[in-house]
């Protein structure tokens, strides 16, 4: 679903590659034993290694390696048995070492791919270029003092995975779908919590435009895009900016630009231009990281069922549409809930109740599935009552609303409120006779050809029975009586 953008000189194609920094879920930092937890008092989670005191040596956290390999396998990527940590040299007050330990020429994870789900119901493959491990920097606060910056090194040294995509992304929708799927995979794997608000997942977006199928244009790298929505907005702005420059006869400058969510624009970060000479070299404090095939196989054996595998299984095993399957696999918990509901029941009906009724109502009430007043077993119980004709689909919705309010079981509510469907032919006939007797004019009109009145009679019967009469039986008996 390539989105072309109309300019004054014809269509333009958008070309996007993304670099996502994902904080590795771990107790301690990449190279030190200080805690990696979010939100602690300033500088309370800083070791002498993180503070870059002279003589301190980094020691690699084995769990961070495990998490990176696990993520690489989850991204269908090649794992490199030998990878090398290098120093990326630059100066900034929240980087006490004067260099970031990162991976450059030899990342731990190589090429792979993921499948993204687009709004028009199609899927697309996006290539993964690489994933490497690196240290996070500290945090600078610039708004606390007129002439000073405040630095907290708690985040300094926390493990990050930088995940780089191929320039396969063709527009804001694809970018949003890529980011969502990546976050979903990381959450399934438990390797990053994917929380963009807390900064544990951050995206840099490389954007260029070109004439469809033509030579690649010069790209700008957009930083500070901290939500899926911001990514879309930043792309929309940047694409227009570049098209205007090119159509005005200018050239796009390769540079780093900052997304300003307040002004809804990107602007040049001039200070960064000179700094792009990082002089990478292998960190002499660290030997190459060597992984055995056994190790990689063991990590592979630990993998959960991944979102796309689950999606395809839901479509094959349960006959669900791509859309329904995509909604259900968006969270592991949601998929589990659905599978409990559908166990021994019709999958399409179960999917419909979970997606359209339950998720809709939860959303309306600002709740998520973990706060659902209706358990999966309870929702299954409700569906059973419809399946065995105890209640009609219409009554079921009322029972569902009551369950949502009270967390009671469906059979208890049906019993309590006397909502059991009337399937006794004699009883339904009695009500129908009464309705027909009470409306002789309409009966005459119907018989005279006003077919539409049939609905009126059904409505009256349902009203008389409080909605409890079996609709199919009402239809059948009415038809018989009116001919």
């Amino acid at each position: 679903m390539a989105q072309l953008v109309k300019g004054q000189t014809g269509d333009w194609e958008i070309v996007i590659g993304m670099e996502v920094h994902a904080q590795v879920t771990a107790n301690s930092k990449l190279f030190s034993g200080a805690s990696a937890e979010f939100g602690a008092a300033p500088n309370s989670q800083v070791s002498m290694v993180d503070a870059a005191m002279p003589g301190m040596l980094p020691v690699l956290n084995e769990h961070c390696v495990y998490q990176a390999v696990r993520t690489g396998l989850g991204l269908n990527s090649a794992i490199n048995k030998t990878s090398v940590f290098e120093r990326k040299n630059y100066f900034y007050p929240d980087l006490p070492q004067g260099y970031q330990i990162s991976q450059y020429l030899h990342p731990v994870v190589g090429e792979g791919k993921i499948e993204i789900d687009l709004p028009d119901g199609t899927t697309k493959e996006i290539g993964i270029t690489r994933l490497h491990l690196e240290q996070d920097a500290g945090k600078s606060l610039h708004d606390q003092h007129p002439t000073k910056s405040y630095v907290d090194l708690n985040r300094s040294g926390c493990a990050l995975m930088e995940i780089v995509s191929e320039p396969d992304i063709r527009g804001p929708d694809e970018a949003a779908a890529y980011l969502s799927k990546l976050r979903m995979i990381l959450r399934y794997l438990g390797t990053c919590d994917g929380n963009m608000e807390e900064g544990s997942m951050r995206a840099d977006v490389n954007i260029s435009v070109r004439k469809p199928g033509g030579e690649l244009g010069t790209r700008a790298e957009i930083k500070n895009v901290n939500s899926v929505k911001a990514v879309q907005q930043a792309i929309d702005f940047e694409v227009q900016r570049q098209i205007e420059i090119l159509e005005g006869g200018g050239t796009v400058v390769q540079e780093t630009r900052l997304w300003d969510p307040g002004k809804m624009e990107t602007r040049s970060m001039r200070s960064k231009e000179e700094a792009h000479d990082y002089r990478y070299f292998p960190d002499p404090d660290l030997l190459p990281l060597v992984l055995t095939q056994d190790y990689i196989d063991n990590v592979a054996n630990d993998l959960p069922e991944l979102p796309d595998q689950k999606k395809h299984r839901f479509m094959e095993e349960y006959g669900l549409s791509l859309y329904d399957a995509s909604v259900l696999i968006a969270e592991q918990q949601r998929a589990e809930y659905f599978e409990t509901v559908t166990d021994g029941r019709d999958a399409k009906i179960a999917a419909n109740w979970v997606i359209n009724e339950l998720l809709g109502l939860l959303n309306k009430n600002g709740k998520d599935l973990s706060g659902s007043p209706i358990s999966a077993a309870q929702l299954g119980g409700l569906i059973d009552l419809i399946a065995d004709n105890t209640i009609s689909g219409k009554i079921a919705k009322d029972v569902f609303a009551e369950m949502f309010e009270t967390s009671k079981d469906a059979p208890a509510i049906v019993e309590e409120k006397g909502l059991k469907q009337v399937t006794d032919t004699g009883e339904i006939e009695k009500v129908i006779d009464a309705v027909l007797d009470a409306n002789p004019d309409n009966v005459a009109a119907y018989k005279g050809g006003k077919d539409k009145l049939f609905g009126f009679f059904v409505g009256q019967v349902m009203k008389e029975t409080g909605g409890k009469a079996n609709p199919a039986m009402v239809n059948e008996i009415l038809k018989k009586k009116l001919t």
Partner: protein
């Protein structure tokens, strides 16, 4: 080695060098480069890069919290601090 390169390297390392120092450093650094470049005479086509002279593997640690909780010590050498933050000249434009 020329003056421009010396100035660039100095700037990247945040070293302030005077014009006089630059002209003294050009031949000095040039000599060092020439010395190192002698290694280029060796044929290393089929030689694996050597990461360490010691025959050992990279040591890994378990993911346990064993360090931190000493903001006072971390900040002890800071020229300026406030409420357990490092305080530095403003670095944002």
């Amino acid at each position: 080695m020329d003056e421009a390169t010396v100035r660039k390297v100095a700037r990247l390392a945040r070293l302030k060098v005077t014009d006089e120092e630059v002209s003294r450093l050009v031949p000095q650094l040039g000599n060092i480069m020439q010395f190192v470049e002698q290694l280029g005479e060796l044929d290393t086509d089929n030689v694996e890069p050597l990461a360490s002279v010691a025959n050992i593997d990279l040591r890994l640690r378990e993911d346990d919290v064993t360090d931190g909780g000493m903001a006072d010590q971390v900040l002890a050498n800071a020229p300026e601090s406030m409420e357990d933050f490092f305080v530095v000249p403003k670095v944002v434009e």
